[in-house]
Structure formats: structure tokens, C-alpha cells
Subunit: 335 residues, 2 copies
DNA sequence: AAGGCTCGGTTAAACGATTAACCTCTGCTT
DNA sequence: AAGCAGAGGTTAATCGTTTAACCGAGCCTT
């Protein structure tokens, strides 16, 4: 592989000059410029990233630490992160923390020894320290003193409330996620805020983000006493679907279900799940862009970016408005 | 961060000695050994990987190139690869080819400039060249002249045939995958081989690996004329489920469906899918181990490793044995 | 007792970039 | 005309390792 020295030789200048024109660090005579560029092109010169890193003290690589790749939430995120990192000229070193705080810590020190230029981090839990020798931006779990990009969970909650209202629901059950997670809490309060006055909360269970519902919840779903169960998660939603089916209730004719996340298989369950979609691609791209900016300007103020979510309506929530109208019309309708 | 020189100073020896004892490259006096180790430990010395790479010409990093992270097949694979790579002391640079041959090629050259020690590669298609400046092991798509680890697709096919037979099916329909893909072809021939004599193939459609079935296939499923449709893929299987449901057939009472892959949501569809599970973790770990061995011994003969798959039986295939017995017993059964 | 081996260690030269310091012209200013 | 500034280059040091070449001191061998 061609080295700087080779390019210099071929262009008839010193390595310093080559380095400078290639990086645009110092102005050069048009003639020299031309010769250097030509030589570099002809030799297919690509700088050795290790030499660069050794000299400059930081590499043109980014780290990515995620709690668990196997979580359906992440692949799309990682994909977006890798794509925009590459577009910006970074390589991406990814580490899976296996949902384990210690392993996560190890990942970070590894990245430190690799002198990555920065890392995008999805912490396994909300309380984490951020004193690392590289800039960090977290995704979806803001840590104080550290850049962050998050989805607008509260808006998402509001979206499902609005949808429920629009579809004529009045009594809903709530399968909310772990209150300790900021995102789950935001979804809940967003929902509650938008529901206030229009929606009656028949009951609420706080359940883990899993399709295995705790006994109390499945018992409740055997006699739901509501027309819609709103779930903090698509996984929870399939748990609800399952419990409802087991109890002989038809979804959505008897009771509707709404999820959150729009995991890749949300359209594959029966019935296809109405849910709110997280802007995974935007989140990933935003995170990398933010990191890039931070690397360029370490001193700037903390950045915080929240991305809007969208409702994707499929078949798991019924339109009771239509039903109501149809039922009401013959009885007391006016001409 | 502590450098080799610092350790040397503290131990009162030369940097060469430190380097040698730390790597066990040259024997040293017990006393020196002790002093060096102690000094390194006290300073928390970790070698600078970039300096190492620059000097040795290869980095202690592995590359991973996958066609599309978003494919449910990959996350578990990537996770296993990352885990064992890390256990072996490698960092993992992952690149998503976005199902695009050109982008895949770019990924490889990028990895080359990074001087990775080796790469595990899931090629986007079967015909690819392998002359790269690093050792390669492919996963699931053997390329000639290059190490490979694959799942035993043929065995998987045989497994589904055996299961079909055991459950008393006689006439089956086949939704086979793209014949051009070696894995799909292997599944098919494995199935056909084990089915020979015992199972009648009512019909066969070659369909893409997607839940969107071509019209001919959905039409066929409207009047399946078989008790079981075997699918080359879980995605195809949910397509079949959907078409069957649309046609008013109950699964598995009227017709059974069996998939392949055991994607993470196979248990979430209705009914939960009986399918064959790929040993993703073993595949990933095996690939990295093989790569590690190859890096240590570049000259060795080509390695090829095939991992067994397993049938995971859930609820999408009915037991017609029981039905047959029940139906036959009253009529012509003996005491 | 002198020469040859090992053994355990050191010196110094790479690896391929970046970058501070310096040098040499031109072209202006005064 | 002398002096100065600045533009455009070059030289050489440096980043932190690895590793070939070397060196001195004991220990055998003959």
C-alpha cells in the first residue's frame, strides 16, 4: 500500500507538503497542488489510520455501546448509526453490553484504549457517570452533562390518547412500563395528559417490558372492563393479545390493543398492531451528527435533541365511533 | 495514560525488556519479570493499539460485514460474534452492506485500510471474490478458497420432513425459497430426500424470502389441497399464515404450517410457529474461533464447519396421527 | 586457559503519519 | 537600497510500540 513517502517521491516534494495539501492544512502553489493530487490518485493513496491515530492521539473511529443487540429496537438504530458514521468517514466499533453494567463499563474502557473519537451510547440504566476521555452522546436515555438525542415519548403517549379518543373509546386499561425508566414514565404522563377529561382509566398495571405478563395483569385481561388496553410496549401488547385470546376475547371487535415502538414484527402479529413508531433512523443519524459536531467543538454547550414519533395505525384498534353512530342513528338521529 | 517507557522507568529496565516480558516473547530473570509486572500493574499500563498496529502492520481488530442488520437473522449472530471476539481480545468493526454489492465492496476496502486482523463476512450473494489482504471466514454462504461456517440446512430440511411424517401428514405443499441461494436449495433437497416415499408433494412454488407472497402462491393457499405447507423461511410462513387466514382456513386445525429460521418473533405470531432453529450463537462463536485460528496459522488447509440445527415445535402443525387413529379406531380397530 | 555458547539484557531503527521550527525566496515599504 | 513580511517549502522531531542487532558475563568444552 502506498505511503505518504511514495506520493511525495512521485510528486517531487516532501512528505510534509503532501500531508499539508492533502489535508488542506497549508496553502500551496497550484502546480504543486496538482502534482500532489495526481500522484496520490495514481497510487491510490489512503492514509494509514493507525499512524494517524498514533500521531494525533485520536482515531477516526466511533464507538457504539448498546445494552443488547437482540432487542428488536436496536438493529435499525445501529444500522442508521453505522451508515451516517461511515458517511462522515468514521469506522464504527460496536460493543454489546449484554444488559450488564459491568460489561458495559468494560466496553467503555476498551473504547478508551482504542482512542475512539467519540461514542454513542445507549446506557443500560439511567444513572451513569460520564467522565470518559471521549465525547459521548446518549440515545434515548439522557445522562446529565452529556449530549443526548431522544424520541419524544410524551408526544407518543399523547398520540395514542388522541387516537383512542378519535376512535371513540372512553374506558381504557393501562399496561404501563417500569416507572423507573424515564422513557416509560414519559409515555405514561404524555398519555395521561392528553387523556385527561376525555378518557377514563379503568385500571393500570405497571409491568416489565416483556410479553410475559405478570399474573395480575393476565387476570385483569380475562375481564378487561374497557374497550382498549394501551400498552407501553409492543412486547407488552403481544402479551395482552395472547391473554385476551386465551380469555376468548376477539381483538379488536371486543377489545382493542395499542402498542408502542413499532418493532419490526408488529405487522406480523394477529391482528396487526396499531402502535407508535420511533424514528430510529433519525435518532441514529442525529446522534452521530451530534457527536461529530461535538468532536469538532468540544467546548460548546450541551446539546439535546428530541425527535417526533408517529402513529402507525393498523388493525388492532376498533373504531367505536362508527359503531356508536350506527347504533345511535336509527334511535335518535335527525334527518 | 501510561506508556511503555513509563513502565520501563519504574521497573528500571529498558522498554525492550518490558515489551518482551509483557508479551512473553523472551525469557527474563524472575526478578526482572516481577519488577516489570508490578510496574505495569501499578501504572495500569495498557498498550496503545495504534502504535502496535503501526509497528506490526495489523491491528487487533476484526471486521464484520453483514448484508443487512435489520434482517432478524443477524442480531443474534452479531451478538455472538462480538462476544467471542471480545473474549479473544479483538475489537469488532461492523459494517452494514445495505444489501448492496458495491457498498459491501467499499466495506471490505475500508476494513483493509484499517488493517484488521481478519473479517467474518456474510456475503450478499454467493459469487464473490476473496482476494483481500486479510483472512476471511464466511458465515452461511461458503465461497471457495475461503474458510466457512454454515448451518446444516439439509439436516433442517430433513428435520421438517421427519416431523411432518411423525405428525401423520401425507400431502404437503412446498413454498421453497430462491433456488439460487445455496441455503434455500439445501433446505429443499434435505427435505425432499427425507420425504421421499413417505410424503407426497401436492405442489411447489418458488417464492422470495418475504412475507409478501406472489399471487400464484396466495391463490394456491386459498385451496391448499394438502394438510401441511412447508415454508423455506419464517417470513414466508407468516405470509402463508396470512393467506390461509384470509381464505378462512384455520391453522393448524385445517392446515398446518411450518417455518424455518426461528426468528425472534416466531413465537409471537398466531399460532406460534413450529420451525427449525439456526444455531446463531454457535455459528458466530465458531466463525470467530475459526478466524482466530486462521490468523494464527495462515497456511493451514481450508476449514469448513457445519453446525446442526434443531426443530422447535410450537403450535402451527397439527398432529394428524392422533386424528387418524381416532378416526380409524372405531371403524376397523382391533381390541 | 582460551575460545565458543547461552542467557539476559540494551540500543537503536523502524512503522507512517503530523507538525513545529526553520529556511529561502519574492515583492513591498520606507 | 536596505530591510521586512509573508508565502511556500523542507527538515526533523515525535507519537508508542516491536524487533533486529549487538553486547557482556558467566559456563563449558577441549
Amino acid at each position: 500500500m502506498a505511503r505518504l513517502k511514495d506520493v511525495a517521491q512521485r510528486a517531487g516534494v516532501s512528505t510534509a507538503t503532501v500531508s499539508n495539501v492533502l489535508r488542506g492544512a497549508k496553502p500551496a502553489t497550484p502546480a504543486v497542488q496538482r502534482r500532489v493530487l495526481a500522484a496520490a490518485a495514481e497510487l491510490g493513496y489512503v492514509p494509514n489510520p493507525h499512524a494517524q491515530s498514533l500521531r494525533t492521539g485520536h482515531s477516526r473511529a466511533l464507538g457504539l455501546v448498546v445494552p443488547d443487540l437482540t432487542n428488536p429496537y436496536f438493529p435499525a438504530l445501529v444500522q442508521a448509526i453505522e451508515a451516517t458514521a461511515r458517511a462522515l468517514g468514521y469506522a464504527l466499533i460496536v460493543m454489546d453490553a449484554g444488559n450488564d453494567g459491568e460489561r458495559e463499563h468494560d466496553s467503555l474502557v476498551l473504547l478508551a484504549t482504542y482512542r475512539v473519537a467519540g461514542v454513542v451510547w445507549v446506557p443500560v440504566d439511567d444513572r451513569q457517570t460520564v467522565d470518559w476521555p471521549f465525547p459521548i452522546v446518549t440515545v434515548d436515555r439522557p445522562l446529565d452533562g452529556c449530549d443526548a438525542v431522544v424520541a419524544d415519548h410524551a408526544q407518543g403517549g399523547a398520540l395514542v390518547a388522541a387516537h383512542a379518543i378519535a376512535r371513540g373509546h372512553r374506558r381504557v386499561g393501562l399496561l404501563s412500563g417500569p416507572r423507573a425508566l424515564a422513557s416509560a414514565a414519559a409515555r405514561r404522563t404524555g398519555f395521561l395528559g392528553a387523556a385527561a377529561g376525555a378518557l377514563e382509566i379503568a385500571w393500570e398495571h405497571e409491568v416489565p417490558f416483556s410479553s410475559e405478563l405478570p399474573p395480575a395483569a393476565v387476570e385483569r385481561l380475562a375481564a378487561p372492563d374497557c374497550s382498549l388496553v394501551v400498552c407501553a410496549n409492543d412486547a407488552i401488547a403481544v402479551g395482552a393479545l395472547r391473554a385476551l385470546r386465551a380469555a376468548g376475547a376477539r381483538v379488536p371487535q371486543d377489545v382493542s390493543v395499542i402498542g408502542f415502538d413499532d418493532v419490526p414484527w408488529a405487522e406480523f402479529v394477529e391482528p396487526a398492531l396499531t402502535t407508535v413508531r420511533q424514528p430510529l433512523a433519525a435518532l441514529g443519524a442525529g446522534a452521530v451528527a451530534m457527536l461529530h459536531a461535538r468532536i469538532a467543538a468540544p467546548g460548546d454547550a450541551r446539546r439535546f435533541e428530541t425527535h417526533p414519533v408517529t402513529l402507525v395505525t393498523r388493525r388492532s384498534v376498533a373504531d367505536r365511533q362508527a359503531a356508536t353512530v350506527a347504533a345511535a342513528s336509527p334511535a335518535g338521529g335527525r334527518p
